[in-house]
């Protein structure tokens, strides 16, 4: 096999193409469509199931085509089975009727409290965070020192903190001792412990102990020392009460379940005597609790249990408890007790509105006590300011009002408002009204509210909170058209006078939304200017990043037109206030996301471009060595989104210069650079399209500029395969634009960096062999080389040789056939090059076919190259013959055989012989896939029947399927 003479087969591409074309056959649409059959069977089988007889389904399935889908649907489908089963009334009628009734009742209940009622669980966290974290430090400190101070007269001796174990012992003995110097966290932990020990006690059947714990806990609510913490304390302790209420209710419920479980809508008559007795026992026990507040809370916790005894129990108890709260002297304690009662009432019996209203009116009646002497004394003692004290009321009053106002008729709301108005110094109430009442209600009376707010006492409830509440309402619902501007003006007049940057910001943040919603950019711009003015002194913005961020978010949700947005003078200065990098980038990201989502058409608006470029640059500049890959990817995605939206229309040069600028700006984000190169390539092709393929001198220069752009940009990429692919792609683009020397340069560059390809690359964090990628690239490259004309100053097939040399010198993996595979795949290229007419050409570019015109010297050169390659392959095959390489040998031999057959002229005896030898070699060790061999053989036979390929029949006789045995 030493010397092989290569002769390329002569190809007639056009003819072959026609031979390969499928025969057109007429299609009868009515019965051909593959999907149609399925739909038919589907509906049939479903119909049969609906009849409810499972036996008939098998017969129907036999009548339709054996479609796997339909057989699946036949009876075996669990859903249809279920549907069939429900037809048969196996369930006793009475129960199903009961269920129906229950469902109906569920529906009714849903109507009473819908999903639009913000549940307590939402408020809970809010209160806990608001009355702890915001003032955490001060509370922490206060708690320690203040508590010991407040209780020092009574127990000066015991200022030690007891260990937990002792505390639990205390509980057992039922004695009360005071725990002092608890930090807030200790306090929370301790309450959680109590909650746990309550559950434990209940679990171990110590009901009395459980009750004792609950009573002790609720007693804590009468203590108003460290008053700032009271709302949170209320939340924590009512959690325990809820747990307790649930435990008792479940216990009594389970006692009733003895013969059969109670229906969901049971009446007191369904409850058995034992359960009733137990329930009564609880109530008698609670009725004898000495302390008013404990009794009240525990009784409220067990409110639901009243339904075991009488029908009207809940209603009566609610009314009684409502009246009972009047006995609580401290207004704060009383308000929270009311809030709890309303909460339990809403949960258990939401239809009982009377007691809710009564609660509110009682609250109004005792409202003036908030400014009474005893409260003043207490505040003086604890050194709490009145505005702070008043805000403590908000959660409770808000909750009560929310319950009252929930689906309340307009008349009632109006009446409530009138009543609030009548009370002097009603800022607190006003605030809650705005919080709790429907935004629409508040919005339509916005002007009235502003008037009322103005009338409020300066020293009382902080006014900015009032405006914040109003702002919240008007940004959800629109005030009457005519009043909007005056509302904004009036409100802003006050807001702008707020001194503390924090208070100012919390207010402004809310009003921005109203402004965006109802007004144009002019007003928003004014608002922004005002915010900047307030936040700049003393770098106040540093403490208000979350609020400022939310301002931006609100603006971009309302202004999708970025030309308007950026034409606001103050928008960019506003952005400049974000001086902490992380926040700044977040804001930029947020803006970009909105831009990508809402910008429909490409833009060339210089205002937008400048601003967005600035924003993107900010994002880009945040990238450093420590930035995570994911973060980079996310940023790059946003920047790419921006670049994609930039279009200067026909002004290609401008576009290119934009790309130049962008490249300079985003040099650290590789995906952006890649994207820019693609953009520029696209630009070149677009120019080509506009010029319909023939460039003028000017456009030719332009596409060369594009090529230059790509050429100098690509080397800056770190990923070797990005570089390779982009070189190839740019080469293709330049060639398509008839820039031969540029194309040459690209391809040369690609070839020259081939040796740099590492053996392994990291993909998604894993090390993978680069070989398959490299092979892919080389094959791609080879197919490109067909149309690249030879450089006049270099030798024949300069690039092909160069590539093959690089392949030869590349350090391939040990035991790898990759090199030989490249050689084998180079053969088809060389064969294609030796044709008279090439398979494909590039318009207006002369390929080698025209350059050489089938010059025999050229053909000879090609053949020589082929022979070298085949020689190399054969050497390699020989080397594989030795040890365990036989399987690989077989595979390689077979692919070379295939290549010879397709591209070589087998009429030549030597080639013919070589082919036969290769066939035999591949079958020698039996590692060949028999089916492939058989098919190949069949194909050859088929080809042999064609007149010009008749020589193949000779070959077929020499090829035998050895390994059939």
């Amino acid at each position: 096999m030493a010397s092989v003479q290569w002769h390329s087969r002569c190809r007639k591409y056009e003819y072959e193409k026609q031979m390969c074309r499928l025969e057109a056959s007429a299609v009868d649409i009515s019965d051909y469509h593959p999907l149609k059959a399925i739909t038919v069977t589907d509906s049939k089988s479903r119909r049969s199931v609906r009849k409810g007889s499972t036996s008939s389904t098998s017969s129907s399935s036999s009548s339709v085509a054996p479609d796997p889908l339909s057989s699946l649907l036949d009876g075996t489908d669990p859903l249809s089975l279920f549907a069939a089963a429900s037809e048969i009334p196996t369930v006793p009628h009475s129960i199903s009727a009961g269920e129906l009734g229950r469902k109906r009742k569920d529906k009714e209940e849903e109507e009473v409290v819908g999903s639009d009622f913000e549940p307590w669980s939402c408020k809970r966290g809010e209160i806990l965070s608001r009355f702890t974290t915001t003032e955490k430090l001060s509370i922490n400190l206060f708690m320690g020192s203040d508590k010991s101070k407040a209780s020092s007269p009574s127990s000066a001796v015991s200022e030690k903190v007891r260990t937990r174990l002792e505390e639990l012992d205390d509980l057992e003995e039922g004695s009360q001792r005071e725990l002092l110097n608890l930090s807030q966290q200790d306090y929370v932990n301790r309450i959680e412990e109590l909650n746990q020990s309550l559950k434990e006690a209940w679990g171990s059947d110590q009901k009395v102990k459980a009750l004792k714990i609950v009573i002790q806990c609720s007693k804590l609510l009468s203590d108003t020392s460290v008053i700032q913490f009271y709302p949170s304390k209320f939340v924590l302790i009512t959690d325990i009460l809820d747990t307790f209420g649930g435990l008792v209710y479940d216990r009594i419920w389970s006692m009733c379940a003895e013969p059969h479980p109670l229906p969901d809508s049971f009446s007191a008559d369904d409850v058995n005597d034992t359960a009733k007795e137990t329930c009564l026992n609880w109530f008698f026990k609670i009725a004898s609790i000495r302390e008013l507040i404990s009794r009240l809370y525990v009784e409220a916790a067990l409110l639901k249990c009243n339904c075991f005894l009488t029908k009207t129990g809940i209603q009566e108890t609610l009314q009684r408890l409502t009246a009972m709260i009047r006995g609580i002297g401290d207004p704060l304690v009383a308000v929270y007790a009311r809030a709890y009662l309303c909460r339990v009432g809403m949960e258990v019996a939401p239809h009982l509105k009377d007691s809710l209203n009564k609660n509110f009116f009682d609250l109004l009646a005792s409202f003036r006590r908030i400014h009474g002497d005893s409260v003043q004394n207490q505040l003086a003692l604890q050194r709490v300011e009145i505005p702070v004290y008043l805000t403590l009321y908000s959660p409770a009053i808000n909750w009560i009002l929310q319950c009252v106002a929930y689906r309340a008729p307009e008349v009632l709301l109006t009446e409530m408002m009138e009543r609030c108005k009548k009370l002097g110094n009603n800022a607190l109430l006003l605030n809650s009204v705005m919080w709790a009442f429907r935004p629409e209600f508040v919005a339509t009376r916005a002007t009235d509210f502003i008037g009322m707010i103005k009338d409020c006492d300066e020293a009382g409830f902080p006014k900015h909170l009032l405006f914040a509440s109003l702002g919240r309402s008007v940004s959800c619902a629109d005030p009457p058209e005519s009043e909007r501007l005056s509302v904004l003006n009036e409100a802003w007049k006050v807001i702008t006078k707020v001194r503390s940057p924090r208070d100012y910001m919390s207010c402004a943040e809310i009003w921005v939304e109203f402004t965006c919603r109802n007004f144009s950019k002019r007003e928003v711009n004014t608002v922004l200017a005002d915010i900047i003015k307030h936040m700049t002194p003393d770098r106040a913005f540093e403490d208000a990043y979350p609020q400022l961020e939310s301002v931006i978010k609100k603006i971009v949700t309302y202004f999708h037109d970025f030309s308007v947005l950026f034409s606001m003078e103050k928008f960019l200065p506003f952005l400049d206030m974000f001086q902490k990098d992380s926040v700044r980038v977040e804001v930029c990201k947020c803006i970009m996301e909105v831009f990508i989502k809402h910008q429909q058409e490409p833009t060339r608006d210089p205002v937008i471009l400048n601003a967005l470029l600035h924003i993107c640059k900010t994002m880009h500049d945040s990238v450093n060595a420590l930035t995570l890959d994911d973060e980079k990817r996310a940023l790059a995605l946003l920047v790419n989104g921006f670049i994609r939206m930039v279009s200067f229309g026909r002004d290609f040069e401008q576009q290119l210069s934009f790309c130049v600028e962008a490249r300079a700006t985003f040099c650290n984000l590789e995906p952006v650079i890649v994207h820019l190169i693609h953009t520029v390539n696209q630009l070149a092709m677009e120019t080509n399209r506009v010029m319909k393929g023939s460039h003028s001198r000017k456009t030719a220069a332009f596409v060369r500029a594009c090529a230059a752009y790509s050429f100098i940009t690509i080397p800056s990429l770190t990923s070797i395969f990005s570089r390779l692919n982009l070189y190839l792609l740019s080469g293709q683009v330049t060639l398509a634009n008839q820039c031969l020397s540029q194309a040459d340069a690209f391809l040369k560059a690609a070839v020259s960096i081939l040796p740099e390809v590492p053996r392994t690359i990291s993909i998604e964090g894993k090390q993978r062999s680069s070989e398959p990628f490299l092979l892919d690239f080389i094959n791609n490259f080879l197919s490109m080389l067909l149309v690249v004309p030879d450089h006049p100053e270099q030798g024949v097939l300069y690039l092909v040789r160069g590539l093959l040399n690089m392949v030869q010198d590349y350090t391939w993996e040990d035991n790898s056939d990759a090199k030989v595979r490249v050689y084998i795949s180079a053969l088809p290229l060389l064969a294609a090059m030796s044709q008279e007419n090439y398979l494909y050409t590039i318009p207006k570019v002369d390929s080698n076919e025209t350059l050489y015109g089938g010059d025999p010297k050229f053909i000879a050169e090609i053949n020589k190259l082929c022979e070298t390659l085949i020689g190399q392959v054969l050497d390699h095959l020989k080397g594989l013959g030795r040890d365990d390489g036989v399987r690989r040998q077989g595979g390689l031999a077979f692919s070379l055989f295939g290549c010879l057959l397709a591209h070589g002229d087998v009429r030549n005896n030597k080639l013919n012989q070589l082919a036969a030898n290769l066939w035999n070699l591949s079958h020698k060790h039996g590692f060949c896939d028999t089916r492939t061999s058989v098919r190949t053989l069949e194909h050859i036979k088929q080809q042999a029947q064609l007149s010009e390929m008749s020589h193949l029949s000779d070959l077929t006789t020499r090829l035998s399927l050895q390994s059939v045995a």
């Binding site: 009564l280 008698f284 008013l292 009972m324 006995g327 009682d362």
Partner: protein, 294 residues
């Protein structure tokens, strides 16, 4: 060998009236078969009177405790001597609840000096080798509803420094209010209202104190003692002036009964409205109550 004896009354609340049938089961549960010499049940109702050491001397109180008055007593044999099989055995029984002779069945009442208690006792006699078993269980007797028409007798009251008996120099205050009834149905709460119209001094707490007054007749005359049953707070802290505060108290079971007046003893009830001022000064207003069962 674990044997347990239990009495289960049919009524969950264990409340019976005179003339009714007291029915239930004796529950014997044993792991093995059990030999016994008979199971008997006895029902007994007693009034125990105790003289307070306040009225008479300590020793006299100890020795002179008045002989208990038996209201009802009966005894039946539930099972004759024999064997009870292993497992749970339920033996049903019935007692007619009938007073002894011409006595009246007073309502169950647990007090300090007067105790009216009804018990059911089950005894299982066993051979010499094994201990006898017994189990007692208390049941409640409610007296028959009073037929006569009830008068509520509401009470209005006003408390000022002037209305107090041993007044010292007190700051000014005016508390008005009313009880809906001083003749109360024992199953219903005591209700009323109270308004602090004005008060110069801060009020710390307002409480309702339920008091029993027990009188025992004895050889040397009689002893009358008032003790607290329970104390319920109805107002805490400096309550809102001019706003009515509800008076509400549930009469505790067992510790209260319809007001009782017999030849040997009396049980009466009173309620005190106690106003605690900021300086822990107490102002008490007393209201006798008549409890009835309807």
């Amino acid at each position: 060998m674990s044997v347990s004896l239990d009495i289960r009354l049919k009524r969950a609340n264990k409340v019976y009236h005179e003339g009714e049938l007291l029915s239930g089961v004796v529950l014997i549960s044993s792991r093995d078969a059990l030999q016994h010499q008979g199971v008997s049940l006895s029902m007994e109702g007693l009034v125990n009177l105790q003289l307070s050491s306040k009225s008479v001397g300590v020793f006299e109180a100890f020795y002179n405790s008045v002989k208990p008055i038996q209201l009802v007593s009966s005894n039946i044999e539930v099972v004759k001597a024999g064997k009870v099989p292993a497992g749970k055995t339920e033996i049903p029984f019935e007692f007619p609840l009938q007073a002894k002779g011409n006595r009246v069945l007073y309502e169950t009442y647990h007090g300090v000096f007067v105790n009216i208690q009804y018990t059911l006792r089950c005894d299982m006699r066993r051979s010499l080798l094994a201990k006898d078993l017994s189990k007692t269980c208390e049941f409640m007797v409610h007296s028959q509803p009073q037929k006569s028409k009830m008068q509520l007798n509401p009470v209005d009251f006003t408390i000022t420094p002037d209305t107090l008996q041993n007044r010292t120099s007190l700051p000014k205050f005016l508390i008005r209010g009313h009880l809906d009834a001083s003749t109360c149905v024992i199953t219903r709460p005591l209700t009323g209202e109270l308004v602090v119209e004005n008060s110069e001094v801060v009020i710390k707490s307002i409480e309702l104190q339920l008091v029993r007054v027990e009188t025992c007749g004895c050889a040397e005359g009689y002893a009358r003692d008032a003790t607290e049953i329970q104390n319920i707070q109805i107002a805490e802290g400096d309550v809102c002036h001019g706003l009515s505060i509800p008076i509400y108290m549930v009469f505790p079971r067992l510790f209260t009964c319809p007001t009782l007046e017999t030849t040997n003893f009396k049980v009466e009830f009173e309620v005190n409205i106690v106003i605690v001022l900021h300086d822990d000064h107490l102002i008490t207003e007393n209201f006798p109550l008549k409890l009835v069962r309807v």
